[in-house]
């Protein structure tokens, strides 16, 4: 009984590290994983937007999750990894420190965040040795758009 329920409800997620924290996004829309390639800057864009990369002729915006999550700037020693995510037919690249694994999980066990619903954090899942912080790519994009509007209206 228990196992069948798990099977129907289970989802898969991509887990990755930023500094020492484990994050995850649902892997349904992750189309590929690459080494960080050449990223061309977009002047005046929100700092979390590292720039644009050319992925087989498609122009894909790259979002540095370190910057977005307000971690210190990426040290040179880290070779970032690009997660390419398809969000309603537009491709986005999320830069992370290190890719961990693709895991199956039960969404019911994810504990929703306590208060700040506006944040991109959708929940936390206790795992064997650490907590997995779930991020919603859609919410990240929405946040970035909101930040941008604010900064422009000030400037």
């Amino acid at each position: 009984m228990n196992t069948s329920e798990e099977r129907t409800d289970q989802k898969r997620c991509c887990t990755f590290l930023i500094e020492d924290t484990c994050f995850a996004i649902e892997s349904d829309n992750v189309t590929e994983v690459l080494q960080r390639g050449v990223i061309n800057k977009v002047p005046l864009a929100s700092p979390a937007i590292s720039g644009l990369l050319n992925l087989r002729g498609r122009i894909v915006p790259a979002i540095d999750l370190r910057v977005f999550l307000e971690y210190p700037a990426t040290p040179h020693s880290i070779k970032q990894i690009s997660l390419i995510v398809d969000i309603s037919n537009e491709w986005y690249c999320f830069l992370v420190d290190k890719l961990l694994d693709v895991k199956a999980f039960d969404p019911h066990q994810v504990v929703p965040p306590t208060n700040n619903s506006s944040s991109a954090l959708t929940g936390v899942l206790p795992d064997t040795d650490h907590l997995i912080h779930f991020l919603s790519p859609e919410k990240i994009l929405k946040n970035l758009l909101d930040i941008r509007t604010e900064s422009l209206s000030v400037g």
Binding site: V38, N40, K41, V42, P43, L44, A45, I49, G51, L52, L53, N54, R56, G57, R58, I59, V60, P61, E90, Y92, L141, L144, L145, R148, T149, L152
Partner: protein, 762 residues
């Protein structure tokens, strides 16, 4: 059922094309009723629609077209003569059928509208004219028409046409009709032969599929370019790379062609529109269409539909005069509107011209001044074309607009915005009493645009070519091309103009604001009426041979790709392109930058130096300190101190008269002397003044050129009090102000410098 849906969608496409054709045919018939071949083709179209509807079970539509068909049958056989009422009635029928079709398209059902009135009118039209006609003929006509109605619904056009043939040949009265009817048949036959051939030669393809092909080819091109950059010395590989290069190039060209379509499909809508608008305005208008085979990007055709419709409506409604006025003016009673398209230097030009009343330059000018878009003085120096540009200003024409142009401006700003959004331009030329020509220039395609690649602060950026006016190299020394601060805002002095500049690197946050570069290039761009310069480090010519962007005269042809919806709202990038080395280059959205960088609109619109004059007069009101001087004829004048660069003494002997002006040599360059007495109309020429052996030159800021105000002596520097009284309309004088303890005339430095330069003083 699925099959049925497919047939229905085919039927809908075909029927709507045929209806467009009907519009044209009916309008043409109205002009020239003796064209039995057209009538026959109209008849066939309606007949086919009726037949197909019956097949699909759309009884209401079938019934309606049956009524129409009956009337058309009578018309075709000459039982009834074609006239305007019938044309309107039949056009009404066409619209009604369209209503049905759109209902079928959206809901799959024919809808509730049955148009009983229209059916009645159609029947009435048949009867009313039937009565006087010979009974015998009526019978004959009626029966074959009926037989056609009952005939197999799969009837081919040609078969049905043949069915009708005996009727027309029996018709004794219409010998010539017979001939043309037969010729119609042959033409129809040859037409259908062509059609059946073209079934093999052309197919309908989903537009999205074509776009995907174009996109894929674009990616192939990029891959090819990358391949070329890494090509080795291996001869066989090199050979293959070269062949891939050639084939990809050709493939790209062919793929781009699939996006192109003749403008005909748009132009064909206009005869009907012209007819309707002319009828509504109670005017007679002939439409001439030329160059409808001109090809341009399919997506662009869709985008110019509304602007062109607007322009044509305007031409008829406001351009063409009423019949009375026309005949009084010695013109033919029917107005001529012409629509012309042609390709010209990589762009498509579309002209909408009319032979109507034309636009009054004075009226536009007056309105523009009223609206505060321009000052009187500035407008007087402007060309007619430039003045007509005011018509495109938002809300230019309002209810209380001058009647000559009222309505002319309604929506014209929208027209311009639409045209410019696709990288086009629009201008008007008009001659009072002769007519107006509106010229729209648009690029052939939006997928590949010519652009300049510039580097700024270590980044490469693309500037679309249509906005670029000129490139100016900045020099370290010399006054010719220098950037100066004018009250904090940097400006470039270019010939007689002051152009605001934006340091692209700093504006984009790529470098800090502290040091101002003295070298580089200014790309002078114009967006609407905002003209400004973008200071960049360098313009990239295609040294990189491997780039896919073909280089001609410094321009690159870049493949435009959409940037993410994450970045599009920034409003400063309109897209991006991938260069040969695989790097991404952003395309600047100049329209957005104009707004974001707060480029003054009015100043540019007002044009030339007048613009800054407005800006400066603001400064003058605030500036409290004035240099008070005495002119040679003893007038007391004041110059705002912040507009004085320095003072210099000149000897009379140093002054060289040249033409109407006087010059002195300073630092190896000529400085023009401006005599305030002449501006104030108080004196003769400067060099004739004998009483003084020396002249004091008040040197003006170099934004205004090498100019100096020549006075007899400097009285003092004093503070102004109160507000500036506009006591004069004389150009060159701002007004009178209490400076020190006496009323003093304040010189308008900018107008003065412009004045002496442009108008010979008399």
């Amino acid at each position: 059922m699925a099959d049925n849906e497919e047939f229905i969608s085919e039927f809908l496409i075909e029927a709507s094309e045929n209806l467009d054709q009907l519009d044209q045919d009916l309008v043409a018939l109205e002009k020239n009723p003796h064209a039995p071949d057209r009538l026959a083709s109209i008849f066939r179209t309606i007949h086919t629609i009726k037949g197909t509807c019956g097949f699909f079970g759309f009884t209401k539509l079938s019934n309606l077209s049956h009524h129409g068909e009956h009337l058309l049958g009578l018309l075709r056989d000459g039982t009834i003569n074609f006239n305007e009422q019938l044309a309107s009635l039949l056009l009404e029928l066409v619209d009604a059928i369209r209503t049905f079709l759109s209902s079928i398209e959206s809901t799959g059902k024919e809808g509730d509208a049955a148009f009983p009135d229209l059916c009645q009118k159609l029947d009435a039209a048949c009867l009313s004219v039937d009565t006087p006609s010979i009974n015998r003929r009526e019978e004959r006509v009626a029966s074959p028409t009926e037989s056609t109605n009952q005939s197999n619904q799969h009837d081919d056009h040609i078969v049905s046409a043949h069915d009708e043939d005996p009727v027309s040949s029996n018709d004794q009265a219409k010998a010539d009709n017979l001939v043309s009817a037969q010729s119609t048949d042959t033409s129809k036959n040859s037409g259908s032969t062509r059609a059946s051939n073209s079934i093999d030669a052309t197919i309908r393809v989903d537009v999205q599929l074509l776009d995907t092909i174009v996109d894929l080819v674009g990616e192939l091109v990029l891959a090819r370019n990358q391949l070329r950059t890494t090509a080795t010395d291996e001869p066989t590989l090199l050979d293959a790379v070269n062949r891939i290069h050639t084939v990809t190039g050709e493939l790209q060209e062919v793929a781009m062609k699939t996006r192109m379509a003749p403008i005909e499909q748009l132009f064909n809508k206009f005869p009907r529109i012209v007819r309707d608008v002319a009828a509504a305005c109670d005017k007679k208008v002939n439409l001439h269409i030329d160059g409808s085979d001109t090809e341009l990007d399919r997506t662009l055709i869709e985008k110019i539909r509304d602007p062109l419709t607007h322009l044509i409506r305007n031409a008829i409604d406001h351009g063409i005069e009423s019949t009375d006025v026309r005949s009084a003016g010695g013109k033919s009673t029917s107005g001529e509107v012409s629509l012309r398209a042609f390709q010209e230097s990589g762009q498509v030009t579309i002209e909408v011209s009319d032979d109507g009343a034309g636009i009054s330059v004075d009226a536009v000018c007056k309105k523009a001044v009223e609206k505060g878009l321009v000052t009187d003085d500035a407008a007087s120096g402007m060309s007619d074309e430039r003045i007509f540009q005011f018509i495109f200003e938002p809300g230019f024409s309002t209810a209380n607009a001058v009647t000559d142009i009222s309505g002319r401006g309604v929506g014209m700003d929208v027209v311009r915005t639409n045209i410019e959004s696709i990288g086009g331009t629009i201008d008007i030329s008009s001659q009072r009493g002769v007519g107006t020509v509106v010229r729209v220039r648009i690029p052939l395609t939006l997928a590949i645009i010519p652009a300049l690649i510039v580097s700024s602060g270590g980044e490469r950026l693309a500037i679309p070519q249509p906005y670029i006016q000129e490139l100016v190299a900045l020099r370290k020394h010399g006054t010719s091309h220098r950037i100066d601060g004018l009250e904090g805002a940097p400006v470039l002095r270019l010939r007689d103009r002051l152009i605001p500049v934006v340091y692209l690197d700093r504006w984009l946050g790529l470098r800090d604001w502290k040091k101002r570069p003295t070298s580089g290039t200014v790309v002078v761009v114009k967006v609407d009426s905002h003209e400004f310069g973008l200071v960049v480090d360098a313009v990239t010519t295609s040294e990189n041979q491997h780039s896919h962007a073909t280089e001609t005269t410094g321009l690159w042809f870049i493949v435009v790709k959409a940037i993410s919806s994450l970045l599009a709202p920034m409003g400063i990038y309109s897209g991006a392109t991938v260069m040969g080395d695989g790097s991404v280059v952003l395309i600047l959205d100049l329209r957005g930058i104009t707004m974001a960088a707060d480029i003054p609109a009015h100043t540019r619109r007002a044009g030339d130096l007048q613009s800054t004059s407005e800006g400066l007069s603001e400064v003058i009101k605030e500036s409290a300190r004035y240099l008070v001087c005495e002119t040679h004829y003893g007038r007391r004048v004041a110059v705002p101190l912040n507009q004085v660069q320095r003072l210099e003494n000149f000897l009379q002997s140093e002054i060289d008269p040249a033409g109407d002006s006087c010059f002195v040599k300073r630092d190896g360059e000529l400085t023009q002397l401006i005599d305030p007495d002449r501006i104030l109309h108080t004196s003769e020429k400067l060099e004739k003044e004998p009483t003084n052996s020396s002249v004091v030159g008040v040197i003006l800021p170099h934004e205004l050129g090498n100019k100096a105000i020549a006075v007899r002596r400097i009285i003092d520097v004093e503070t102004g009090h109160g507000s500036l009284e506009k006591t004069t309309t004389k150009s060159g004088l701002l007004g009178t102000l209490l400076v020190g303890d006496s009323a003093t005339e304040v010189l308008d430095i900018i107008a003065a410098s412009q004045w002496s330069e442009e108008s010979p003083l008399s």
